[in-house]
Symmetry: C2
Subunit: 259 residues, 2 copies
Amino acid sequence: MMKSKTVTAAMIIIGDEILSGRTKDANLNHLAAWLGDHGIQLREVRVIPDDGDIIVRTVNELRTSHDYLFTTGGIGPTHDDITAENIARALGRPFVQHPEAYAVLKQHYGPEGLTEARLRMAMMPEGAELIDNPVSRAPGIHVENIFVLAGIPVVMQAMLKDVAKRISGGDKTLSKTIHVFHGESFFADILGEVNEAFDEVSIGSYPFYHDRAYGATFVLRSTNDGALEAAVKLLKEKITGGGHDCFDGEPSFRSDPKE
Amino acid sequence: MMKSKTVTAAMIIIGDEILSGRTKDANLNHLAAWLGDHGIQLREVRVIPDDGDIIVRTVNELRTSHDYLFTTGGIGPTHDDITAENIARALGRPFVQHPEAYAVLKQHYGPEGLTEARLRMAMMPEGAELIDNPVSRAPGIHVENIFVLAGIPVVMQAMLKDVAKRISGGDKTLSKTIHVFHGESFFADILGEVNEAFDEVSIGSYPFYHDRAYGATFVLRSTNDGALEAAVKLLKEKITGGGHDCFDGEPSFRSDPKE
């Protein structure tokens, strides 16, 4: 049997606007699903303010404890765009002008348009590589195991195309979903038993309330396909054996925005 | 002049389903705005997996460094509902049956329906108070400076009514917003100058792209109303003095879901 390989990631969302409630983050969910598709397990996310010392401390805690670290937010030309300089500080690397980024900006703005503020977008930790930004000006940054991405969702998502070439995933986590139209407490013992019986399978129970329908969705996850199928089979047998119906997949209103 | 009072909070979102990308968190934004309305600054959010040791470590890091700590997710009757027992572990408190929670469950399920799984919902850190849950069965928990809330948004939001009676906020952060229809890099120097000129005001610059309109929104925030107004006035003067138009508030498409 092949040895399984787990590859992990953490994410830092940098932004006062998220913590104040002004802006709804849309990057966490997108990155989480994208990483899963690439065989990388997102293990922790932190949302922190635009504060250099906090960025440095958080980057250093998470980059050493995960295979990859992703940040979103705080790249660009204004005074509150402080991510790049603090990534450099965290890594103990000089903060220098990147020749390629400089050339791109010079072409776009012309030599007279290259203000000090715009030149900030060419400043990177020494040795960093640019991540292509097909939407706007400020490139992303790849340095060591860190990917520094934009905060604007459309830009962040566009940058992932370039990131995909630079990462290497492990075993994909597979999942199977079933649901019931009874409260989850009816199935708590069964769920616990099946969870205990399969070391390699984790089971989550998520109650739902939708208009007057309620029930629970059970999500089984594993990197081992055989164990996953066996756990699903056992759980279904136990549910129907107890006199309840169960159904494959998510309930049909799952994508309903009202949920 | 009255001394200003800053009250801070942190939030822990407990849930494999958020980290796997299955579920979009909807609690962060709601709690962030709610705390702001109550004069409490949300300073850090962490999303962590359903793992007892990680919950204990994260709770202990954040409860001691903030005035309040909020958790969402992992309360209920199933094997993956491990928040309450790990809050007890973090605080070094016994994990005991709460008489009032027990009475509520007994009334709802009847003495025969009180399975071991359902009784889990009456287990709390010793000395905890219940947070009223008007939607479903599992109550929230208030212990020391920690509020343990449900993960399901409609339940979590309903619990905040009871939480409101138990918190005490500080100075409210006020904000003013203006926007321009030019790239933020045109205004980077001006923004930096105004930001420097007012110690008590922080300024965020948020570019937007909307169909073919683009520009930037500038958000000024302060607990000092006078300083805020003066900073807004100075920023507007500098923008119009540089030959650009600026407009109050968010751009009109701000609430458009396409943004």
